[in-house]
Symmetry: C3
């Protein structure tokens, strides 16, 4: 039976299956960040009424206005917020309360200017913007702890509050303050014990920079050693994780059992290690902003959502996403086309989100984010966006219980290595973030072919849960991780691995075995040389992607095959001697190795060919992009299938499964 999906609209289908999970959420939450304190005049009642009319069920409050909670040092004021929360409570709107620590009050800067970040190379943060403080500063911690405790004492019992957000989009903000550096030295001592170990692991005899003790340990400013740079990044991730855990631990002293703790992460941010940060959180939250209008591509939402879900392999929430427009000036204002607001909500839900919240309710009339507009514009009146939010909200009130707590299990995983991403920026094979280019290329190939994908984090590399593991350039890896990959293949796993994998150990030191070292048997080849390359064709278009797409670029390893067979050769008088891509059967499994950076089309074909040959194909591959099909299991144990139309045109899709009920219309398929 064919169904029509209108432009930027969605189709949802459920299928009965056995129940498994207990829901934490009774329904999808749908709402906004709300800053009544930013309003040019008092309109609390009007706002709440407008929210209620729209069907909004949750607001996030409080994370941006420390100076209203504590207008002067040690003087605390909660009445203004009590009034807001009471209003929400009366309207049946749930509240997530944020700790207000990511933007310090002017009095705190004035009293403790040393809290502000000192950047590398003798430059300094100044007051006038948020996120400019050294989060390990004891002075900052003292004041931050006090306001958190005061807030928790005041609010923990408030029935409207369902959970807490600790801080906001936290990173180190580039801090290199003296105390931050001394913390790094302590961290180094813990990991390396003495500088002799360091001299050896980092090769400090190079250029004669060996250390006689920790007092000689130089600051980050002039560092060129990749090992130093990598540890500095790791330390930064640790600092952020410790800081969030510290806030969470304070809140845990006060919170009720029914209240959750989360933090709103930035999508795949290189300074935020979700796995480390998640230690004392209940689940992660995501602030995801993306292109809109003709630039709206499902994979931008999908990758952020799938990455976030993969942390716990469970549901998560969206704390911030585009309402009207985004931008720190008015150069990139792109309000959504009709239907795009609703499409994005269902996209998030289809990836396992239990809440979608806009940033923010109203547009602000002053400050840096004047043009980062909310559901309401500057005129504070209902508008086109408000109406689409309202439509979506009312829809969710009806069908949300069938969608909430969606459980998603995938057979394909992408191994994500934060260390490799950083280390490849220090020694890039191309301009930009070359690691992420491969990650995104692989993800997009899977996404656009409707193959559900998880991320696997090197911090807990559970390979065996997956049938196929994609490994972007694993430039940094311990011996044991490489061995685990090799074993995974031996035991029947399938791997598609990219160039440079296994090149360095965890100290960013190049291995001195013949490459690919520990992976040699699994890969079935060795190589001694590599070259940067311009764009080159593959010989005889082995993937049948056509002349324009039949290109590889940036990198070429001079593969000398052993047991491996070549899947593709370069079309070049010199490089043509070496295979560009190989396949190797090893034990019960198989490893495909990509010794170069292929075009999007080649990577997609390579991955989908492997999926087909493994028998992992589903009917969803028959309705590929711009139709996006996602599926999971709901609280009732039923399979829910989302059909999302990512084009501006009507699309016909054939529902390829035996039976099902279209949820919105309650009609059988």
């Amino acid at each position: 039976m064919k169904k029509i999906i209108l432009p930027f609209l969605i189709l949802l289908v459920t299928v009965s299956l056995a129940a498994q999970n207990q829901p934490e959420f009774k329904n999808i939450l749908y709402g906004v960040a709300y800053y009544h304190e930013y309003m040019p005049y008092d309109r609390l009642d009007k706002d709440i009424q407008l929210m209620k009319d729209a069907g909004i069920t949750v607001v996030r409050l409080g994370e941006s206005t420390w100076s209203l909670f504590e207008p002067e040092e040690g003087k605390f004021e909660f009445a203004w917020m009590d009034r807001i929360i009471d209003g929400m409570q009366k309207a049946g709107i749930k509240v997530i309360l944020g700790t207000p620590t990511y933007s310090i009050p002017a009095w705190l800067y004035h009293k403790h200017p040393e809290i502000l970040v000192d950047y590398l190379n003798d430059t300094h943060a100044h007051y006038g913007i948020r996120q400019n403080m050294d989060i390990v500063s004891p002075a900052f911690r003292f004041y931050a702890e006090r306001i958190i405790r005061k807030m928790m004492e005041h609010y923990a019992k408030n029935p409207a509050i369902i959970g807490y957000q600790v801080d906001n989009e936290t990173t180190t903000y580039g801090a290199a303050n003296r105390d931050f550096f001394l913390g790094f030295v302590d961290y180094m001592k813990q990991h390396y014990i003495n500088t002799d170990t360091l001299n050896k692991r980092w090769g400090l005899q190079y250029w004669g920079m060996t250390l006689n003790g920790w007092d000689e340990f130089p600051t980050r400013d002039g560092a060129t050693n990749p090992g130093y740079k990598l540890e500095w990044e790791r330390y930064g991730q640790q600092v952020v994780a410790d800081y969030l855990s510290w806030q969470a631990s304070i809140i845990r002293e006060y919170r009720r059992p029914d209240q959750f703790i989360t933090h709103d992460f930035m999508p795949l941010h290189a300074g935020q290690n979700y796995v480390l940060c998640n230690r004392l959180l209940d689940f992660p939250a995501l602030n995801v902003y993306h292109n809109v209008q003709d630039g709206l591509k499902g994979e931008d939402l999908g990758i952020a959502d799938d990455y976030t879900r993969s942390v716990n392999r469970n549901n998560f929430i969206i704390t911030e996403t585009n309402a009207q427009t985004i931008g720190w000036d008015s150069k990139w204002q792109t309000p959504p086309y009709d239907g795009q607001i609703r499409l994005c909500v269902y996209s998030h839900l289809s990836s396992g989100a239990n809440m979608v919240e806009y940033w923010h309710w109203h547009s602000i009339h002053y400050g840096q984010e004047t043009y980062w507009k909310g559901v309401l514009g500057h005129d504070l009146q209902p508008n086109r966006i408000y109406r689409e939010v309202s439509r979506t909200a009312h829809e969710l009130q009806k069908i949300g219980p069938e969608l909430v707590n969606l459980k998603i299990r995938n057979q394909v995983g992408i191994l994500y290595s934060m260390d490799s991403r950083h280390a490849l920026k220090f020694m890039p094979y191309k301009d930009g973030d070359g690691y992420m280019d491969i990650v995104k290329q692989c993800y997009t190939a899977l996404f656009r072919n409707n193959v559900g994908t998880d991320f696997i984090f090197t911090e807990k590399p559970i390979l065996s849960d997956y049938k196929l593991v994609i490994i972007p350039p694993l430039y940094i890896a311990t011996d044991s991780l490489l061995q685990a990959i090799s074993d995974y293949v031996k035991n029947g796993g399938h791997v598609i691995m990219f160039f440079k994998s296994g090149f360095c150990n965890q100290y960013s030191t190049v291995r001195w075995q013949m490459m690919p070292g520990i992976l040699k048997e699994a890969c079935g080849f060795t190589y001694q040389e590599f070259s940067s390359i311009a764009s080159l064709p593959l010989k005889d278009d082995p993937f049948g992607v056509g002349k324009e797409n039949n290109t590889v670029s940036s990198w070429s390893e001079f593969i000398l095959p052993g047991t491996a067979t070549a899947l593709a050769y370069y079309d070049h008088p010199f490089f043509g001697k070496y295979p560009a891509i190989t396949a190797n059967s090893y034990g019960k499994g198989k490893l495909i190795y990509v010794g170069t950076a292929p075009s999007d089309a080649i990577t997609a074909k390579l991955i989908m060919d492997e999926i087909k040959s493994m028998g992992l194909e589903t009917p969803d591959q028959l309705t590929p992009y711009p139709i996006v099909v996602h599926m999971g299991r709901n609280d009732a144990g039923k399979t829910v299938r989302y059909y999302l139309n990512y084009s501006g045109e009507e699309k016909k899709v054939k529902y390829p499964y035996a039976k099902g009920t279209e949820i919105l219309s309650k009609t059988s398929l």
Copy 2:
């Protein structure tokens, strides 16, 4: 009757009319800035003889060499300059004397290094260049005042001196020194009284940056608040105006009644508020440098001249303009083609200039401006340029009295808002100086169609003197200014207004009415949304400008027409719902609103269509660019018409008026 104008030449015609104004100048002054102190050997007599031979009538002296007037602290030497002035006096060449304060001596830097500018973000000026001092520094002011008084005591009675130039191309030079900042805090106190007012007007509750008092007021370095940024710019303009007024007030103590005071402004410089600066000046002077050779376009001179004339709506002088070549290195050397020197002189006169002075007499053999060449080259001998200057000078000696004190009255004005220009740089709708792009586009359309144009400054917005007012994006405006515009239309005025007008109040805070707020009735529409756009065509080429020109870009407001009618729609599936340009009759007048950034051709057509429909056309539109026609009334009460040929080819023009006398040939037309 047809007349031929040769390449880069001009044609001037007078017509008898009733007399009105008293001349301050008896003839056009024509001369050079002169630095005998820079000469590699003594050649004063030779230079004066060469000037005399050429017909030069004025020199500017003294503004660049404080260290020659005061070679050591407190030791004053005037003999070297006396000799120069005496020589000029004997040769009948008038002198404008500059105060030498824009470049400090080495001894002053050595004694008071704190005078040097501290820039934002912890960077600092160093000695070795001019215009690197903090002009509010008390130390600087002490020494500057002393040298000015010493010079005035010595020179005020000198009969050769006809006027004074205070300082030179003054701005704040980016100063953010401590005393500069404290001056800003005082300025803020005067305007906002207390920080509670500030908290409210600037919305400092956003990101929790409210202030408990002026001691917490943060420096400019980290400021993100657009209101802060705008006040900082305003303060900078105020500092410059106060500084020039302070110098002028000192000179007023000494000068003779027949001596004028001026300052040489940079064309439409964003850091120089001509209106504020002009308080104690007699008239403004202009340093105008422009493209030459194939890059010589009349509008570059025209806009600078018209803007300067509009300050007093009266005559002005050119203190500096291109002689041979300009440039701080030898990459952009472009000596004028034959005829261009003379063409530019008459262009300036046709816009109301009473003097044209080159920078400078001779080319300098050392220093930063080695390649910013004077009338004489480095060989200090007569050359091609000297010969053309000489020809022009002798011509002016004959016909100058008929050209001097030209009075110009126009019916079209462009409303110039310095605040909007700055505020749009903080929140740009496109890269670059988007405000000026619209100003220049409108000016060029009028200039190339020979429509005389004034600038109207928001500091004194006399709209009613004009029949048509062009309003570039008036992003910043008080309620009263918006009301004045609305009233102007109601009472019969015509307005062509661009997008974003009325968006913010004077604090750079977005208005919270439905846009365009106070202008709603005059505009005849509302809008709630806007979008950045790529280049889009208008539907059905409504202005008949052809496919290549039929484009708008950068910005689109989603206009919901009330009484307004659409003049053009976007050709786009989504944006096509909204008019791009509207017209609205309101009271006795009319307002055309441009909700997007049109191509040059569309803007030109829109403006000229309106001029035609208003009946403001003249025969001058029949001889458009590259023929430029300017007109005014001379001291004899006669109309003078300039016909300037801005092409390298002969042009025939038909003199379309009843009678007239060609001034150069004294022939009747």
Copy 3:
């Protein structure tokens, strides 16, 4: 007889001639920089065996690891290096020992952080990289002298050591520390005696910056005066030369008579004045890195080699050159194609090198130069590159004695002016290093036509040794140099001179004569004006280079010919009045003047036409690029001709000389 040269291969031919020079080297040395101290494990014996097997005859040791010689302040350790040198000695491999002063130990930075460079404009070097110290710092000199003396005491007698390298690629590293600046003031005092002289020569009255004494002399930071900038550059070159001479003088106290002293220069580096630096060296060494793969162009090696050879007009050595790949990251990795390693070795020998050494033996597993790979890759095992090195080494063992101490005498010289190069960067006629663009253009024209070329340095301008002298823009010159050029022409010399020559004196002050001043008679014209130009064609393609190549750009002098005749005019309505290129017979000689920047093709045609008309042609012009023919005389007094094939294809060449023996095959031609 035709001979075939295979891709990237070479052909060598000797011809009997009378003997002349005594060799200092018995054979070509061929080797590597070796850092056993960087190895991840002890493999000294294995490395030496591999070197011996490959035929390597020399290693450079020690210059990069001060902290191993002196791990703690005052604690010296040589045993680790003794063991390496002993191993080499046993294997018959010669040693060049470097002083380890270009990278300071961490303990020295920790003890004396003031040693680190303070850059201009208040920025600072940090520890973590080499070449970051102020080389005039007394603290640095103290420790540097001590380690050098300790090393010399220990090693001077070691029979393996054939010579010493002082420091490494030394420049000032941008130092502007207080003591560096005070040194500059002292240097200025020596050259100008008092500030009155300075005021006059630099024209400090401009902008009123005259000095009353040396205490007022401002720092370099804000300097705009071109004379100041030029002296600062000269001082920097002097500092480097003095520093290297100081190290050489210490070594001279200890070294044996059979040991040489050298320094490894960077090719044509603007901060290294080879002539000044060479004072106490025995001969210069060169570190030359160049493009490889399709980017390998012979002229990149040729220009560096010819420039270095010209310093003493004698043999030199290559201390560093590409092995596998270069690059401070992995973005530009380009291992050589098969044959390119060997081709480059013979290229260097053909220009007079007596040694070729790779940087370096093995690839490093950590640090900044992880991807600057040696002969061995990271796996430390023989590979493709090792095999080609080995082949070449064994070849050299056989034929090297016929190639060593090649004496080269050329008839064409390029006058190189370091001052002009710097001064033209301060006042550029185009973006980039405009001086070097002309130098390289002329050199490449000669190189690709197999015309042997020397460089003549303005520090010792021996023009009369050459029949044709090419003079790139000689922007800075003393009167006596200009007179010498004029006399050279008068006496029969031929000159091809480029624009701007003679424009400034040695103080970077523009001459105030009619240009070209002292050169007027030799040039046969004057000019008063000049202009920047876009790309323009020459009228009627006078050099027959075809439409695409018939262009000049950037600069045009308005030449007014006297005795000179025009060789080419611009095709332009205004510029067309002036000749672009002229020729003038003066005395017995001829001067061709290029008043513009021609295309490569025009410059090449112009030069080769002149060479032909002078009768300097040889049969080598019949086998031009990609065949490169070099020649010289060997120790046996025989002419050696190199035929180098710089293409990837087989090339047939006709051996155009009467008789000869192909060295490799020992066959007669």
